[in-house]
Symmetry: C2
Subunit: 327 residues, 2 copies
Amino acid sequence: MRKVLVNWEGVGQDNVGRLARYAEVVESWKLDKRSLEAALPEIDAALVLSWPGFMSREGLGGMTRLRLVQTFMVGVNHVPLNDLPASVVVCNNAGAFSVEVGEHAWGLLLAAAKKIVATHTLVRAGEKSFSAFREERDIKVLDGKTMGIIGFGGIGRTVAGYAKAFGMKVVALNRSRKKAAGVRLLYGRKGLELLLRISDAILISLPLTTSTDRLIGQNELGMMKKDAMLVNVARGDIVDRAALYSHLKANPSFRYATDVWWFKEGKETLETEQPFVGLPNFVGTPHTSGPTSLAGGAPQREAVDNVIRFLRGLKPRNVVDRSDYKS
Amino acid sequence: MRKVLVNWEGVGQDNVGRLARYAEVVESWKLDKRSLEAALPEIDAALVLSWPGFMSREGLGGMTRLRLVQTFMVGVNHVPLNDLPASVVVCNNAGAFSVEVGEHAWGLLLAAAKKIVATHTLVRAGEKSFSAFREERDIKVLDGKTMGIIGFGGIGRTVAGYAKAFGMKVVALNRSRKKAAGVRLLYGRKGLELLLRISDAILISLPLTTSTDRLIGQNELGMMKKDAMLVNVARGDIVDRAALYSHLKANPSFRYATDVWWFKEGKETLETEQPFVGLPNFVGTPHTSGPTSLAGGAPQREAVDNVIRFLRGLKPRNVVDRSDYKS
C-alpha cells in the first residue's frame, strides 16, 4: 500500500480519513524523529504546509519513492525545487483560495480608497474635529473607474466580478487566451504597460516566479497614475521594495495596500528595511487572507482531492512549471 | 424674480449658474451681516449644508416668503423642523450619495470581516510574527453568508447589489412594497427581529427619526449572532451607545464598523463617553463617506436639480415627512 506523508498538524481528521481510503497516512507530528526517518524512504506523496526541516536536501536523498509534492498554499516559493529530482511532480493549491483572497483584496482596495485605516488611526490618536477630514478631497469613488488586474487566475477572476458589480471597467493581463465577459484582456509587456497607464486601481495576483520577481519597479510605478491604488495579494517581492518606498514618499496620493510582505533569507517577514507601516498611504495586513481560511473548508479539501487524484492514477491538477522558477 | 439663498461656500459656480437661470442667487458668504439680513425677507428657497446661524428661530420669523428648504445632506437632523412653519417644504438629498456611501459601507464591512484595521494596527505597533495572526480563526468569509439591510433606500439597494456579487443571501427591512430581485423583503418589528437573528452582517441605512432613535439597543444586540458584524452609515444615534459598548466588551467576536457618530447637544461628535476607538472590534471613520463627495459631482447637482424643480413649479422630490421627526 502506498504511503502519504502529511506535514501539517492542522489537517482535519475528515481529510486524513479520505486519504486513508487510498493510502497509509503518515502524520509527521505524531512520530518521533527515528520513526519518521524510517518512514521517509517509503513515502510516495507528501502534502505540506511550510517545508519540513526533515525534507532537506539530505533527507530528500533518501526519499526514492517520492513522486508527488502537494502544497496547501498557492505559492510554492517555500519549496526547494532545485533539490527535488525531476521524477517528483510538484502541485500547488491554485484556485483554492480565490474567494478568501479575492474578498481580502477588495477589502484592501476599499480601505485604501476610503482611507479607512488612515482616518481611523487619526481618530484613535485623538483627532476630534470632523472638519480636519472634510477638507479631505482624497476619498476615492470606484464607480466608473478602471480596475487593472495583473494575473488573471482564480483570484483575478473573482476580483473582476466584484469590480464589475462596483461599476468599474476591467482590464486584465493574462497568459492564456481564455476569455471573460466584460473584461478586456491584455498580453505581454505592452499589455502590462497599457494596464499600468490606464488603471485607477491595480491588483497584483500572479505567482512570484523568475519572470515576475520585481516586475513592478521604479519604471513601472512611474507609468501609473499619480493617485493610483496598488493592491498586492500575491507575493511581496513582485514589487521592488526600495522603489515602492520612494514612490509612496514622493506621491502622497498614491496608495499601496498589501497582504504580502518581502522575503528575507527565503522567508516572508514583517520586518522591512523601510518603515512602510508609518506611511499614511500604506495599508498592510499580515498575510491573513489565505492561511487563516485553511483551518476549515475548501482550500484544505482541494489539496487533499488532488493527492487522491494522484493516488487513483489520474493526472493531478495545478502542476507547477518548474521553468518558471529557474534561478 | 424669485430669490434662492445658497449657504455653502463649496457650491460649484456651474451649479450657481444653473440656479441663476430661474432665480436670483444669494450667496450668503459673499454678503456682510447687514446685507444678508436685508435679503432674508425676500428669500423663496434656501439650499443649505449645515444649518445657518442667521436662520435661527428669530431669523426665520422674518423669512415670510420662504417655501422650500433643500439640504445637500441626506439626513435632516440638523434642520430645526419645529421652527419652520408648515408652509415650508423641507427636502433632503436622499439617493444622491448612494454610491459613495454604499462603497464606504462595503469597505467598513470588509475592514471588519478581514480585521484590516485591527491587524494593521498591531503590525504598526511592532508585532513581527506572522504566527501571532495565523492562529487567528476570526477572519470571516462573506461568500455564502447572510447580509441583513435595515432600510432599503438608495444606499441599501446599492449594498444589496454588492452583497449578491459577493455570493451572499440578502434580506432587507423595508417600508415600501417595492420589490428587488434576489432580495427577501421583511416588514415591521417582526421582520426586524428575524433579520437580526439570521444575518451574519447587518447594515443600518435608514434615517434617524423619532421611531429609529436607538432602534438598536441592548435587546436587539442580544438577538444578533454572537459574531455578527454591524455596519452603520446612517446616524450614530440609531444605535444605543452604552448598550453597544457593553456588547462589544462582552463579545470580542462581535464587530461594529461605523462612519457615523453620536450626537451631543444636537451635533455629531467624535468625542464619545465610552472609549470605542480603543476596542479591537470597533472600526470608526470620521463621517467621510458622504460629505467628501459633495465637492464635485452628482450629490451637489442633484440638490440643485430639486430646487430648480421647485422654481419651475414642479413637485420637488425627497419631501421630508415631518411626522417622522416629532419629538
